[in-house]
Symmetry: D3
Subunit: 134 residues, 6 copies
């Protein structure tokens, strides 16, 4: 299996509902440093996993739609706790949509899976990985 | 698959038996920076992989029982080389026991597997991963 | 010159006033990974720069008073932009106050200066350094 | 599953052919920081995944054969784009050959798989993983 | 003293002349991860060291003029070894020129000094720092 | 000012005397990842701060004399607590001696100062810096 990974970040405010979250029930915020790992069984005709320029742009575009926001105000997350692991799955889904729409190039349809990792500090991070494809 | 990871560390002395260990047969020591990665297929009812506060405490408690020790004197490791990879499996087993005992909350029974990584320097690390569950 | 550094983090929400801040004028947030570097010319009678346990506790206590907050609501920062560099100076001042109050031990009066660095992402950080002492 | 990882690096010049590579079609270069992760189901009779000294030497020897070169001039890569993901597979194959030849010790025949990761910057990396064995 | 730092990178080919460089006399290459640390005694009227957006753009523009090049072919470096420490001073000078030209905003004239660090691998880096200003 | 830095590591056992050290009074150990930063005002005739190959060897040789030891048994440290900050000064002195003896080349006599940093974990490190030369 081959992989290519790119890194970017975004900065948001949010709060959580539920006793399990303790002091994080108050409005606070986070920087998320995000790694997107693209995977496939064999290299494409250009000898690559994915066009790294387009992969970087796709990640950047997905994060731009979240960056500098209060996630408590986002209709898309109504009634959901925007935990690190949940946000990883949201970003996974949005990049997968771009791949399906051809935004990462036609060869990107050969990508097998994607892992999205969000680092929230030097001592905590979360990830979601799932298959890609038609 | 969803994951949540937390990081902590411990500092020990030990020595190894066997020619393969070269100069590490002498009493020396190490700082181990430890990552515990908790995994499950779906988020729990709180929208999380695991209560990160309890996961951090569990890791910290397991490492406290090893920290500031000479592992050569520990009855639990009698006759064993406390290599980095072996210690990863020990920490895995001890966290798994805490999960089974309910110390990470009742939803933690839904955790599928755990990966424990020990970084021994900027150029070497080892890990053990295995399933969790009843 | 000798130094000892310890690291911790905090997570906050805030917004900025002023065109120079662009999209950061909206309510957003950040994780700040904080390094406190304590400096002195000569080691103290125990052969150390500072009691690292107390230094870690002091940093942790200062960050706990900021953690999981919306800094826009904090009276202490009324009318101020809580930029990364400004927050570095605030944390510097609060640790310096603890040192002056003897909370880091009597030998800590021999500390010459302190540098506080706040990492806001993998590509941006800010610091404040200044003298300590009577 | 147990793993042991070691890190080293090499520095090369190269260029790429194909529009997808944009400005990287010009002669440029890279530092690759390389992680080799060795995996096996159970520890060997010495209680280890692999002799870390020999693993480090094997990685170092493989990288020495690439270091300080212009890869465009290497016969082994004639007609191939030496992308990060392709180089990861090359290094995988060369370490696998050393394992098969017994250079990592006789117990190394029990290794199940190998993952080779090449970090090309703080925001991009690529990997190849594949099975080992007879 | 206050500082703000930003990070970016560039990838080049080059070779060195002189026996002291050993195998690096051959054409090879490097990724340089570059940190630019901007320093001033007091914050500017916006409560910042420098407009971080403009600082990031300035660093990016300076690196773009070096990125994806063979430095042996650059007229600017004719007869010079483009060592890591020398390149740090070149980037320092080019950012200083942009500050003097007002590209980082009018308040940037209050910057006191600049440190430019180039990381060439996980085990080696070099820096140049010097005063700024009229 | 120009700097060049190189990194290596060593692994030791030791214990401390004095109530201030708490549980670290027991025999334990540490991995120290060591950075040696060489500084000078102007580049030498080869356009470098120091021969990085020789600097790396000098650091490696100094650390080899400490590696895989119980520092409590070392005559050189009799009656001293081998704290991180103290060890930084020891390594500084030993590298300085090598520079004075010409082991880093004749141009190394132009080095102005040296900073030695020991990272003992992901959340703690210490350094010693001092002048070099006649």
């Amino acid at each position: 299996m081959f992989t290519v990974s790119v890194r970017d970040h975004f900065m948001i405010a949010h709060s959580f509902e539920g006793q399990v979250f303790g002091p994080a029930q108050k409005l606070h915020g986070a920087t998320y440093v995000v790694d997107a790992e693209f995977r496939r069984a064999e290299l494409d005709p250009d000898g690559i996993v994915v066009d790294i320029g387009r992969a970087t742009e796709a990640l950047s575009a997905v994060l731009a739609a979240l960056n500098f926001r209060n996630l408590d105000d986002e209709p898309a997350f109504k009634g959901r706790n925007t935990t690190t692991e949940f946000l990883a799955s949201v970003i996974h889904e949005r990049i997968a949509t771009k791949i399906a729409a051809g935004e990462l190039g036609s060869h990107a349809h050969g990508l097998a899976s994607l892992r999205v990792t969000l680092h929230e500090s030097h001592v905590a991070w979360a990830a979601y990985e799932g298959k890609l494809g038609r």
